[in-house]
Every structure is written in structure tokens, then in C-alpha cells.
């Protein structure tokens, strides 16, 4: 039994979700190796070191995690819907290997400049991600009629090819370079400057709103392009916008935090199982759940082996893998695509 989505109910859910997200971020910012007291935090800026830890360090990092989580979850929703493939994730069209290649090149060439406060790794990863998606999109278009299949194949081939180059470059790199490459590939949160947070957060929110705007069309497209066209949807325009926006927010996420797996796969599935497949609801709720999920995982990454830190990608994979298996087994009977 599913209920159809109405604007009022959706607004309520989004509001509740947003309040929940803020609460989780506050709670997570209170947790950590260094004990801080809420009273000291409320004393305001300049008052106490606790304020600096809470706002400048932990809250800033929570905002970053929320931004990345929201971006990955939304991109996952879009790629699953457009490719009509429940196993799709934000990285499926080669973004991961493209960004990885960019990062490896940046590490090996040993650049030390910064661009708007961003390291060469971030800049190269961003460019690599977008460049690869563009390349895959181009190959998919040239390959012909069945758009979705050729895109998937192009993604797989480009992914394999770039991964080979990454392995080649890593094999000739110095050992400390290899370490920073691997560390980056695992996915990490670091404390960022506020203007980076504002910029990327704003960009991802704008992206989610743009995707929400075309979400009724995404619903129709998940029935196939032919059906969508005969129902009056300009599939070419919708697909182009959706791919471009999803790729852009994924590239932002990747340049902020490296390759964090599973978020873009399990969050859309979890939200779909609970709230149904309507993209008008799926997109905003996945953004919120993705944000909460990554904030919690990153807090775990900070405190589990404190004072050391785990890469957050390790936490999402360890939590996400079994969770996904449970979902798969429990709902295998319910979900159409698993029983042919």
C-alpha cells in the first residue's frame, strides 16, 4: 500500500527531516576526543576554546559531511532512475575513476598551489570527474540508439581504462605518494574553511532544487524513454539536465572528500523502500537521509579509534555493506526487479 505524494505532506516530511538533521549535527559536534561543554559553547565567540572546537572544527566538518552525503544520495537517486538500474550509484558512469585519475596526477606531479583555498588534488579530482562524465556521455551518444545501455557500457569501459592508468601511475609513484593516493581514494573528511562550505553547500542545495524541479519527468522516464516521450516528456532535455546536475554535485562531493562509497547506493534504496519511488519525495528525503547518514558515519570515523581517525569511506562501507544485504534479503520478494 502506498499513498500518493501531496505538497503539504511532503513539506512536513522535509521540515521534520531538516530539524532532525540539524539536531544530529549538533549532537555529533558535541562528541569527540576533547570534551566540551554546551555552556561554554553558548558563551559565544572569543569566550572559550570550546566554542572554537564546536563551531570552527566539528560543526564545520559536520556541514561538510552533510553536503557530501546529500550530494551523493541525490546523484544516486538520479542515476538509478535514469539508467533504470537499481544497482547504479553516483560513480557508475566513470566519475570515480576520472576523479581518482585526477587526484593521482595531482599527487604525483607534486603541485603545491591552491585555487580558492582548494588543494590541487581537489581541483584535479573535480576536473577529472566532470571530464570523464562528459566523455562517457559523448561516447554513449555516438554509440547509438539504445541510449541507456550504451551509456552504461561506455561507463564501464572508461572506468576500467582509467583504473588501469591509476594502477600504472601508482606503481611508478614514490611510496609516500602512494599512501596519500590510497588515503584519498578511501574517502575522507577534513576540516575546511567556511567559504568552501558555503560555496559547496549552496551549490549542492541548488542542484537538489534543480533536480526536484524535473522530478515528475524523472518518474515518467523510469518507465522507459519511449513511454515517456509518448506521454509528452522531452526526454532528451530532461536526461541532459539530470545527468549534468547529478554529475556536477557528485564532482563537488568527490573533490571535497574523495571516493566515499555506498552512500549513493543504499540511501536511495532505503528511502525508496520506506517512502515509495516517487522522485518528488525521493529526492529531497534522500538528500536529508544521506546527509544524516554521512554525519553519523563521519562522527564514528572520528571517535572509534580516537585519537587517530578512520577514513569515513571505510565506515560507510562497513556499515553500508551488511545493511544493504539485509535490505536485499528482506525485500527481495517485495521488490519487482529482484524476482524476474
Amino acid at each position: 500500500m502506498t499513498k500518493t505524494v501531496t505538497p503539504g505532506k511532503l513539506l512536513l516530511k522535509v521540515a521534520v527531516g531538516f530539524v532532525l538533521l540539524l539536531a544530529v549535527m549538533m549532537l555529533c559536534a558535541l562528541v569527540g576526543t576533547q570534551k566540551i561543554s554546551l555552556a561554554n559553547v553558548f558563551a559565544g565567540p572569543g569566550g572559550h576554546i570550546d566554542y572554537i572546537i564546536f563551531v570552527r572544527v566539528r560543526l564545520a566538518r559536520a556541514v561538510l559531511a552533510a553536503t557530501v552525503g546529500a550530494a551523493l544520495a541525490c546523484a544516486g537517486v538520479v542515476f538509478q532512475g535514469l539508467l533504470r538500474n537499481p544497482l547504479a550509484d553516483p560513480y557508475i558512469l566513470g566519475i570515480s575513476s576520472g576523479a581518482g585519475l585526477g587526484a593521482v596526477i595531482a599527487v604525483i606531479s607534486g603541485f603545491s598551489w591552491t585555487l580558492w583555498g582548494r588543494s590541487p588534488i581537489a581541483v584535479f579530482a573535480f576536473a577529472g570527474a566532470l571530464g570523464t562524465v562528459w566523455l562517457v556521455w559523448l561516447i554513449g551518444r555516438l554509440a547509438g540508439r539504445s541510449n541507456v545501455t550504451s551509456l552504461l557500457l561506455a561507463g564501464v569501459v572508461v572506468n576500467a581504462f582509467f583504473s588501469a592508468i591509476i594502477m600504472f601511475l601508482t606503481s611508478i609513484a614514490k611510496s609516500d605518494q602512494v599512501f596519500s593516493t590510497i588515503f584519498w581514494l578511501m574517502g575522507n573528511m577534513t576540516e575546511e574553511q567556511f567559504h568552501v562550505l558555503w560555496l559547496s553547500g549552496g551549490f549542492v542545495i541548488a542542484g537538489v532544487i534543480a533536480l526536484f524541479y524535473i522530478s515528475p519527468q524523472l518518474n515518467v522516464i523510469s518507465f522507459g524513454e519511449g513511454d515517456a516521450r509518448s506521454m509528452g516528456v522531452n526526454t532528451m532535455a530532461v536526461q541532459t539536465i539530470a545527468f549534468a546536475v547529478a554529475a556536477a554535485i557528485t564532482a563537488v562531493a568527490v573533490s571535497l572528500s574523495g571516493l566515499i562509497g555506498f552512500v549513493g547506493l543504499i540511501v536511495p534504496h532505503g528511502v525508496r523502500l520506506v517512502f515509495g519511488p516517487d522522485h518528488r519525495q525521493l529526492l529531497p528525503l534522500s538528500a536529508i537521509v544521506g546527509a544524516i547518514f554521512l554525519v553519523v558515519c563521519d562522527t564514528a570515523a572520528r571517535i572509534v579509534v580516537a585519537p587517530a581517525q578512520l577514513p569515513v569511506g571505510v565506515v560507510t562501507a562497513i556499515v553500508g555493506g551488511p545493511f544493504f544485504l539485509v535490505l536485499l534479503i528482506r525485500h527481495a520478494r517485495k521488490v519487482g526487479w529482484l524476482v524476474k
Binding site: T4, P7, F212, S215, S222, S230, G232
Partner: protein, 267 residues
């Protein structure tokens, strides 16, 4: 003026020519079925009529204007399409599926109006699927699903309804119910219906005319009584069998080399 006017239509894939110099008209409120052997271009013709493919030569006019002259959105207000029954990847409910036909009419915020809901409800009532409204598409039977896709096409509120083998995977009961439903739509809602089918006998009971496409590029158009004779069938499908008459309509049962009642069987 006829609703669909096909003249000197030709179409080729890179593998070869499928349709050659095909001309026919479908009047307003008319029910035409298209039949023919595999590879005779039935589905290609349907894709041309629905604007999914572009004509190689000749022209298709729908409601007086060339198919190519319509935008995707405006063609969707003239022609709705029911493709072969399938289960979509994600678990949309029956009501959500039918409401999707209204997406081009949604407002800025992307939500349906009361009017859209009423239209979807009427379509569910007409196809007798209203009791399934909240079920998921994957959880209902093939016959029910096909009715839901017809409901979606009705919710699109178009004068022309195209169907690609609407009964191919259905049992006898559901086959008859689908044809009854189509006939009802023709009579009550004045729909112009074009259906591709393999079931010429059932189609003959319901449609106004049949168009038989042969692989050699010939075609035969007429009522069931005109075109369901054994000679025409043999020319089009390359098969012989038993041609009979039920009441007013003819029927044809194909018989092969090893079938028991083959007319010239030696035994």
C-alpha cells in the same frame, strides 16, 4: 477528414526496407487492427504513427497535421500509446502510474491538480482497476497491469489510442476483457483505436477493419469478412488451415504438417 492519413509511407532500417509505399486512412472513431507475420513492420508502423520513428518517405498526418510538425508535448495530446505489458523497475502504485499521464499538465511545483486526479479516477473506473489503485504494479497480474496501462493512456485524454499487442501474454479471459474494454472506449469515448495484434480471430470480432501487412510489402485492408479468407491468409502468413465462420464473422485456425486435422494428411 480522417483522423490518421498515411500516404506512400516508406521506412528502412540499416538492415533493410520494412515498409514500402504504404497508404491507408483511419476515420475518426474507427477501430483498426494491424496484423502480419513477424518482420512485416507492424511495430515499426506503430512507432512511426506515434512519432518515435521518422518516416523515410511519404507522410503520416494525424488530425490534419504531419506527425513531424507536432512537438513531443503536443503529439502526446493527440496520441497515447500502450506498449507490451511489462513490470517497471521501481514499485510505483497503480494510481501513481496512471497519474503520470498528466505530468505535462502539472503546474510549476510539479504536483497534480484536483482535475488531474478526477481524470485519473475516471480512467481507473473505466478500466475497472479502481480497486487496485493503491497496489504496486509488480503485485498485480499481467492482465490487470495491461488494463492499468490502458487506464494511463485514457488519462492522457487523447483522441487516438495506439496499442502494441495488447493481449499477447494474457489468458483467454483477459484477452476478451481487453477487447471488450477497447470496444467500450471506441463507443463511449469516441476513441480512434489502432491495435497491432497476432490474434486476428478475436480482432475480427471487435474491430471495424483489419490491415494485413505481408513481408513482401503487399498489404490487404478490409473487414474481417473481406480479408480473413484462406487465400489472403496464405499469401500474408504463408500458412494454410481451416477457415470457418462463427456467425457473421470469419475465423481462421492455422494447421501445420503434423497437426491432426490437416486437410490433406495421408493417414
Amino acid at each position: 477528414m480522417s483522423m490518421i492519413d498515411v500516404s506512400h509511407l516508406g521506412f528502412s532500417y540499416s538492415e533493410g526496407e520494412v515498409l514500402r509505399n504504404l497508404s491507408f486512412q483511419v476515420g475518426r472513431g474507427f477501430f483498426l487492427t494491424i496484423a502480419g507475420p513477424n518482420g512485416s513492420g507492424k511495430s515499426t508502423l506503430l512507432n512511426l504513427l506515434s512519432g518515435q520513428l521518422r518516416a523515410g518517405s511519404g507522410s503520416i498526418r494525424i488530425d490534419g497535421a504531419e506527425v513531424e510538425s507536432y512537438s513531443t508535448a503536443s503529439l502526446a495530446k493527440k496520441v497515447s500509446v500502450v506498449r507490451q505489458e511489462f513490470v517497471p523497475v521501481f514499485g510505483f502504485s497503480v494510481l501513481e502510474t496512471v497519474l503520470m499521464a498528466r505530468v505535462p499538465y502539472y503546474g510549476q511545483l510539479g504536483f497534480e491538480t484536483k482535475h488531474d486526479r478526477d481524470i485519473a479516477n475516471d480512467a481507473l473506473e473505466a478500466t475497472e482497476t479502481i480497486r487496485l489503485a493503491r497496489r504496486q504494479l509488480g503485485q498485480i497480474s499481467g492482465g490487470e497491469r495491461q488494463r492499468v496501462f490502458i487506464a494511463r493512456a485514457l488519462a492522457q485524454d487523447t483522441p487516438v489510442l495506439l496499442l502494441d499487442e495488447p493481449t499477447s501474454f494474457l489468458d483467454l479471459h483477459h484477452q476478451v476483457r481487453i477487447y471488450d474494454l477497447l470496444k467500450k472506449m471506441q463507443i463511449e469515448k469516441a476513441k480512434t483505436i489502432v491495435a497491432v495484434t497476432h490474434d486476428i480471430n478475436l480482432a475480427a470480432q471487435y474491430c471495424d477493419e483489419l490491415l494485413l501487412l505481408a513481408t513482401d510489402g503487399n498489404c490487404y485492408k478490409g473487414t474481417g469478412r473481406d480479408v480473413l479468407g484462406p487465400e489472403t491468409i496464405e499469401k500474408v502468413f504463408g500458412v494454410t488451415g481451416f477457415a470457418g465462420r462463427i456467425g457473421t464473422e470469419k475465423f481462421f485456425l492455422p494447421l501445420g504438417e503434423f497437426s491432426r486435422d490437416r486437410p490433406n494428411r495421408m493417414s
